[in-house]
Symmetry: C2
Subunit: 156 residues, 2 copies
């Protein structure tokens, strides 16, 4: 179990290390060490501290979904007719693998989701046969992403 501080102080060397690894999680620590000009052991120690602080949530291989035929991303605003049904609706959304994000939001909708699908037909199937059939879902509004121009993490 990680201890997560409210806020953590990181210096320039920490930032250099993290920026390298945010860009390529498999970059050898020794390579970063040589570039920065400190020892591998020092980086190791800093990374352990950063990990213990909870700042490092993990590491991931990033898959290019287009290569698997997933070329259409869309955002769907969902109106739920009873707020009490929300947890159950989210549970059902988790069962839909194409749902990548799900947020309770302020504003018109109860929930906003991001989905990734193969094409418009697949999108229609997800809307009509998966999302709309969830109990409590009264209406949806769909926004297809024609083109994603930015995709990144918070900058250090």
């Amino acid at each position: 179990m990680k201890i997560i501080n409210e806020t953590v102080e990181i210096d320039g060397i920490d930032k250099e290390i993290l920026r390298s690894l945010m860009n390529d999680a498999r970059k050898p620590v020794l390579e970063i060490a040589r570039k920065i000009g400190i020892s591998g052991a020092a980086i190791h120690q800093r990374l352990r501290k950063l990990d213990e602080s909870g700042l490092i949530a993990g590491s991931k291989f990033v898959i290019n979904p287009k290569v698997l035929g997933y070329s259409t991303m869309a955002f769907i605003g969902i109106y739920l007719d009873k707020a009490m049904r929300n947890p159950e609706a989210v549970k059902q959304l988790k069962e839909i693998p194409e749902v990548l994000e799900c947020h309770y939001t302020t504003g018109n909708w109860s929930i906003l989701i991001k989905i990734l699908c193969k094409d418009n037909e697949h999108l229609m199937y997800l809307l009509n046969d998966k999302v709309q059939t969830i109990e409590g879902v009264s209406r949806t509004e769909t926004f297809i992403s024609l083109n994603q121009q930015i995709d990144r993490q918070i900058q250090l």
Copy 2:
């Protein structure tokens, strides 16, 4: 330069390897090899092939923004008064580090962005002093994420 095929076939072993690494990019290949029951060299070769296919977009350390004090995520729908200004507006959005995603979308808005900020005051600052001041931006609609329930990649 990677060659990106339109669609790629992957078998169960590829999926096991990728699922492991999507979960932890630094997991040693040999560890995965022992778990699956094939040699490290075989995994190495498969990973090379997967990389060449373009399926592997890269790897990342994932930062927990809450530890840096970023606790408010929001989606902002942006109305642009002239479609011709879109590329310039996107260019300016890229200059705002808090903007994590930016999509051209169908529907009411020209652009939908996802931003991460420290608190509501920071959000207001970004809206009023950064986003709204971009030339061509006529109006925005903000949806604060009260709680993110799902955050994942496409499943293999």
